[in-house]
């Protein structure tokens, strides 16, 4: 859908990208003031899929709010649920068995790979290559099958519970995950040869859309966007939670600040996630998957709680203000892409529109998570 183009006296015109447009991921609308093919000014317009998730958190009990968290980011849902259960567990003082935490870490990392795979496919498709999307989806399908077998759903998992998990993983899952790791490593090599080296791909990304570290800080960008601009920040390392301190993994950081750097960060992150999964499967302890001492209805003590986790898109924070009731007095979600996206307006000034769309792809936006 495009709005009527108005010719301005100074020869610039308004271009409406979205809310329904194949190049924007989801229902994001960008109002662009154009001078020929160059963007003079861009303005992102949000709110098309706003569903009041924060308000729902105040009206539902903590347990009833669990399914909502998977509906924020439908590509990496487990990371968001992880943040919520961690926040409530810490506030309510629930001890989580070790096995449950390991399984959480393994499934979150699998989900991260799935999310990055889908981003990879969609990103290359934005730039005009279709086959990589199909290859990526095929690999992602393996992960979804594995996760479906343990959680019961393919996207909206709702797998974690306060104090543990919905149900335990079986040997089939462990076998499948072990088989998946070498296959995925082979695929990563294939993607590297197919896409990373491709001359058209490189020329469209190298040196394009520089986002300085300064700008990342100004807008609060996190995740691969910030790490592509040389900021070494990963919640898993900087504010460790769950069992992440037990794992050995690196945080890929690139200093080029361009779209290619953001691409490389995510590609390297998949390998690091595979390393975590590998170690997790090896160390996976036996034991219960649910805390023994757990109140029947969860009521948090009066207070203000915050928990940040590293999701596939960056630092996701959940803040719960409790007045001692069954549901939160105030629940605030800090979603990573919301901050990451706001770079776009400033960074794409003076850019060619094709570069801006490639830049948007490199930010990895998931609109339901921005609008929530």
């Amino acid at each position: 859908m495009s709005a009527p183009i108005q010719l301005r006296p100074d020869e610039t015109f308004l271009l409406n990208v979205g809310p329904q447009h194949p190049a924007t991921h989801g229902v994001l609308r960008v109002k662009m003031q154009m001078d020929g093919e160059y963007i003079v000014k861009a303005e992102t317009v949000l709110g098309y899929v706003h569903r009041m998730h924060e308000k729902m958190g105040e009206n539902r009990t903590y347990a009833q709010y669990l399914p909502n968290l998977s509906r924020l980011d439908y590509l990496g849902a487990l990371g968001y649920t992880h943040g919520h259960v961690l926040a409530v567990e810490r506030a309510a003082g629930i001890e989580v068995p070790e096995r449950a935490e390991y399984i959480r870490a393994i499934t979150v990392e699998l989900n991260r790979v799935a999310s990055h795979l889908f981003w990879f496919g969609a990103f290359v498709m934005d730039l005009g290559g279709f086959s990589p999307l199909m290859y990526a989806i095929q690999d992602r399908e393996h992960i979804l099958d594995m996760l479906e077998a343990v959680t019961g759903a393919r996207l909206t998992y709702c797998y974690y519970r306060f104090g543990g998990l919905y149900n335990d993983v079986d040997d089939d899952f462990i076998e499948a995950a072990k088989r998946f790791i070498p296959r995925m490593r082979k695929s990563l090599k294939k993607y590297d040869a197919l896409v990373s080296g491709n001359v058209i791909f490189r020329n469209r990304l190298e040196g394009i859309a520089p986002v300085s570290a300064e700008m990342c800080r100004k807008y609060g960008a996190t995740g691969p966007v910030a790490r592509g601009s040389g900021i070494n920040f990963d919640v898993r390392k900087n504010e460790p939670y769950s069992v992440y301190p037990e794992f050995e993994f690196d945080v890929p950081v690139y200093h080029e600040c361009d779209s290619l750097a953001r691409y490389k960060v995510r590609m390297d992150e998949m390998e690091q996630s595979l390393r975590i999964i590998e170690q997790g499967l090896e160390k996976l302890p036996d034991g219960p998957i649910m805390a023994e001492k757990k109140p029947k209805t969860i009521k948090l003590p009066v207070g203000d709680y915050y928990q940040a986790v590293e999701t596939a898109r960056g630092s996701f924070g959940i803040r719960i203000v409790s007045d001692g009731d069954k549901n939160a007095y105030r629940l605030k979600l800090r979603s990573p892409t919301y901050s990451n996206m706001h770079l776009f307006d400033e960074a794409c000034e003076g850019m060619l529109i094709m570069d801006a769309l490639a830049f948007m792809g490199s930010l990895d936006l998931v609109i339901p998570e921005i609008d929530r």
Binding site: Q138, E148, G152
Partner: protein, 152 residues
Amino acid sequence: MGGYFSDIFYGSKSLLIGMGITFREFFKPTVTVQYPYQTIKMSARFRGHIELIADEEGKPKCVACGMCQRACPSGCISLDSVSVDIEVDGKVKKKKVLSKYDLDFTKCSLCGQCVENCNFGAIDFSKEYNLASTRKEDFHFNLLKRLEERNA
């Protein structure tokens, strides 16, 4: 000038490598399932909409305690019960019997809270996923009727 030609050389080489990969993929076995002509079996834990479970006599196991209704975040379960007199060891007792169990599937988020909160194992997920209709009413399930139909 040398840079120009080496760019062309390495650029074409990268394209040929890419084409080689897509060419090899071309001969790999097809993994696509030709839905709707082929369907796949859902995994054992797949969460579809809920169904009532019958006991040995074909009656619903449900005792109409309403735990599922209270646990549901979306308020899609509505149930009712009637009190009937039954004879146990010569004495007449009152017993709650389920008279209505409706699921509004249009609102269900398939979260599984209802099944988890049922202490009597009276509901479970169906493996049905081929659900499509143009009418909203088709997704207001009368689970008691469905149970009877399954029994018949």
